[in-house]
Symmetry: C2
């Protein structure tokens, strides 16, 4: 497995292989890999001749009061895990390589970002769109892999691919969970012991909400109140949001019909966790 830190070298490598007709799968990550990332790498391995995993903690998608400086990092561990999944190249640029200066041309995402994480993290998806554009231009993948835990991110990247005609197929992969239901996340490492016991309630409340809906509940306010009650009662977390929207449009729903997402964000002492389920109710 190669590790490439230079954009120029990465582009030369890609150009060489594309000229030979090789297909390329890109797995963009911020590192501190978990089973979720590895599921993306496995899928990319099945679909493509070459698999590139990028590891880059993108400063532009963190707000001034967010956890950029404490975001967990362990390159050696990531290296072994990626190698175990037969990744061909880790693209591992320094921040100064990706941003030799602050970009002069920014992307403004004006749809699908006034709700959920877009509302509580202003500018977050502008930073995501910019870095994903850069990574697409650097790795020039045929396919790029994203986890459904970041469902709003996928909705935004789908918009970006449509608006900018990126020649990239976006593949979304199911959220990987612990047996207790907790979604895998690099940020789980920052949970205290008691928070770690409480955190599975996030998914359990979503799963129970799904059961209520399958039993006929169509009122989103009651569903939200139910989840809010569960999390308030069973965890010490502070609820950032619990919301329900159509998916992937992220528009307000009158009744719980069609395809929709129930998404939440909960702040624990040192980690803000997100999770969601997407339901299709015919």
């Amino acid at each position: 497995m190669k590790v490439i830190k230079s954009i120029k070298e990465m582009q030369a490598f890609v150009l060489h292989h594309k000229k030979q007709g090789k297909s390329i799968g890109l797995v963009p990550t911020m590192g501190y890999l978990h089973e979720g990332h590895l599921a993306l790498a496995e899928q990319a391995r099945k679909d493509n001749d070459l698999v590139i995993m990028s590891i880059f903690v993108n400063p532009l998608q963190f707000g001034p009061k967010e956890d950029l400086s404490t975001y967990p990092r362990d390159f050696n561990r990531d290296h072994s895990l990626a190698e175990g999944k037969n990744v061909d190249v880790i693209f591992y640029p320094a921040a100064g390589e990706m941003y030799p200066q602050h970009p002069s041309i920014l992307m403004n995402v004006n749809d699908r970002t006034d709700v959920l994480c877009g509302e509580s993290r202003p500018g977050h998806f502008d930073g995501v769109a910019l870095v994903v554009s850069k990574l697409f231009n650097i790795a020039q993948p045929d396919r790029a892999y994203f986890g459904r835990k970041d469902a709003q991110q996928i909705a935004v990247i789908d918009l970006m691919v449509a608006d900018y005609n990126f020649p990239v197929e976006i593949i979304s992969v199911d959220t990987i969970r612990e047996e207790n239901g907790l979604a895998m996340s690099s940020r789980n490492v920052h949970l205290t012991a008691s928070e770690r016991e409480q955190a599975p309630v996030l998914y359990q409340s979503l799963a129970n909400a799904r059961t209520l809906i399958s039993e006929g509940e169509k009122d989103s306010e009651r569903i939200i109140a139910f989840i809010r009650g569960e999390i308030a009662e069973k965890t010490d977390g502070e609820i950032d949001y619990i919301e329900i929207y159509s998916y992937p449009e992220l528009k307000t729903l009158v009744e719980l019909e069609g395809r929709f997402i129930i998404a939440l964000a909960v702040k624990f002492s040192k980690a803000r966790l997100i999770d969601n389920i997407i339901i299709t109710n015919e």
Copy 2:
């Protein structure tokens, strides 16, 4: 020569040829081709296996009071001219193909646009950056060709390629002029007979300014006053701007040293013309 109107078909064509190791040159135009465009096509023909010329009058780079509706168009004429230069493909999408809806993700160009055409045409370069990004993703060129008459456009596209890591080499080609010095432009067709006689004064005043500078003039205000005097005296045009900046940074200059641009825009009755010269003064 092929004419392709569908983005999907254009991308499939490009993918097929890239897998065979073919290099691609893109000549982005708004059509109504003149010698300037054809010089770009000639250069692209020399440098690449395949030459794609796009013809698309991009609504997003026109302001509400600008000449989108009267911008000259003649596809049959363009077709013959492009064929004469051995262009392989004309990419000729409808507006609804490029913008099935107004883009949700816009680009904001925050550098090199507070002066010259960027100042008199707010939003113009945001629209240019967006459409050029789309064209790069659609045609996936190794090289893209732009005329130096649009010197600020080249400065902005250089920024964009740097910020977004587009794997595209930007080739700029000298402005093509009539014998009297008038820069070739699709908009020249809108000049009245008497304006057409006056319009060469734009370049002649720039050329005379260059002579003054080569003779030792270092004061940009005096150069600007000289050009203003020439144009006011010898044409009926209304001066939009005459400005001098470092190039390509487009920063204010104290003295006329280093590499700089003298650029102007003049409004005639039905056409706003631009021209410039770039000087290196050691």
